[in-house]
Symmetry: C2
Subunit: 136 residues, 2 copies
Amino acid sequence: MNLQDQLREHGIQPTPQRLAVAAYVMHAREHPTADGVLERVRKQCPTVSRATVYNTLNLLVRKGLIRTQVLKEGTVVFDPHVESHHHFIDTDTGSIYDIPWHALTVSGHATLRGFDVQEYQVILRGKRRAARPRRR
Amino acid sequence: MNLQDQLREHGIQPTPQRLAVAAYVMHAREHPTADGVLERVRKQCPTVSRATVYNTLNLLVRKGLIRTQVLKEGTVVFDPHVESHHHFIDTDTGSIYDIPWHALTVSGHATLRGFDVQEYQVILRGKRRAARPRRR
DNA sequence: GTCTTGGTTTAGACATAGTCTATTCACCGT
DNA sequence: ACGGTGAATAGACTATGTCTAAACCAAGAC
Ligand SMILES: [Mn+2]
Ligand SMILES: [Mn+2]
Ligand SMILES: [Zn+2]
Ligand SMILES: [Zn+2]
């Protein structure tokens, strides 16, 4: 299915600006900030305003197509991966990596007295290790 | 040991303003923001400036007496609990609760390929359940 | 007692993230 | 063409945080 139909299915009128924002943020792997999205989208659509980018991102969040994550100081980041998963943050570069849900197991959260846990995730910090080159 | 000596031990000249900030933030349970600390400290020391509060909080962090946590949108919060622990965030009120390290166990983090994990914590979200009244 | 000096405090300028408002614009149905 | 609806835009506005330059203060030297 193309992006235009995907937006319509979620009750969003597809406009050129919204398509440009959605095309980028829904496939971004880098957990961009709103101003990061603005910067990137302006390369395709140089007249787009900051307000439109913020409006569109908030709309995509309300409609469940993307979600926000609180992972960086001072700003929220956007994540097209809406299912539960964990995050690793490189303390040198600030880069954020997705960790699949099933890579980690958390035990004990169901028995916390006085807390009705609705969701959780593990935030890991450290340094990205150079991937060992694969022998071919 | 009193607070004045504790600051001196960490190489911090104890001034009235610094003592007022430290006295509050080092015993705060609510994970206050910088402006929350300012508001509270001004009740004791009404002439203290915003710059001094920010300077002092950053100094206490550099010296390892408190730490920052990225748990709230748009602002960092301060935490006198410097050892590893987890956090529960009430999605209704925004209140942040400490969860002791040993209340939860995370497995799998040691075997993540390509990631050198130096620290981690679990962030849980949900609703605080009314504590069942204790029979006396 | 006055002078000097280094560290501290202060007000305000500045930068960035984010929201809101009023105006303009684009697409429609008539 | 005209009118109405929703979207886009520029810019004002708020909040968090940093930075700078000036005022302040406590000690020590004379
Ligand atoms: Mn969907
Ligand atoms: Mn210590
Ligand atoms: Zn993610
Ligand atoms: Zn804490």
